[in-house]
Symmetry: C2
Subunit: 104 residues, 2 copies
DNA sequence: TATATACATTTACACTTGTCAATATATAAA
DNA sequence: TTTATATATTGACAAGTGTAAATGTATATA
């Protein structure tokens, strides 16, 4: 079974601060120093969380001068949702009215 | 901020064995002893994972004699997907063609 | 009652993870 | 070059987590 990579992606969101970062980036790109002001964590801790999010593919980064700009990755988001959908769904396709299933 | 409960739900899937259990239950109800045969873990470990999944709401349990029958919870699945969608999405609603966004 | 089976709980341990202080690196400005 | 700013890395530590052995509990059967 090769769930290791999927577990890594799931774990990328298994933290309060990283959930907060995902919300903070929903309205567009932000640099690290701005995120740092919004979250009650130190700079090394933020740097650690951004690395986890970027490694998962959910967040993309762009360096400009001495600033790092972070933004949600459309491909990463799409891929993440599809991955989750593979595990969090029932077998309704074999039912009589699959389109009415809760998992849709 | 109150991400604690959401983090707990995310963490419910942040384990290889629990992902495997979600797949094993996709085709319908199974009792613990059957799951035990499919996974390479001991009985106490399975019991622990089932508790985590049930507490998250993703899995429902039903006791029948000395057997515990586990199944995916439609409500739990629906709720989980909605919760994830709240974090893993961009701000496309404010764009010109939100329906064409990757996050849909 | 005695025995067997299915499952839960307790306990202990190794491993992982989030955190911050200290330090390092890179870039821009004075 | 010197100084200030933004970020990354290292190291240490406490807390959390997955695991299995041992044990407990409930139910069914002989």
């Amino acid at each position: 079974m090769g769930f290791r990579e999927d577990v890594r992606k799931v774990k990328a969101l298994a933290d309060e601060n990283r959930l907060a970062i995902m919300l903070a980036l929903q309205h567009g790109e932000k640099c690290g120093c701005v995120l740092l002001e919004e979250l009650n964590i130190t700079q090394p801790t933020l740097s650690h969380h951004m690395k986890v999010l970027c490694d998962s593919g959910l967040v993309a980064s762009r360096k400009e001068g001495k600033w790092m700009h972070y933004s949600l990755s459309p491909e990463g988001i799409s891929s993440y949702r599809e991955m989750i959908s593979g595990y969090v769904r029932c077998d309704c396709e074999k039912e009589e009215t699959p389109s009415a299933c809760c998992c849709k």
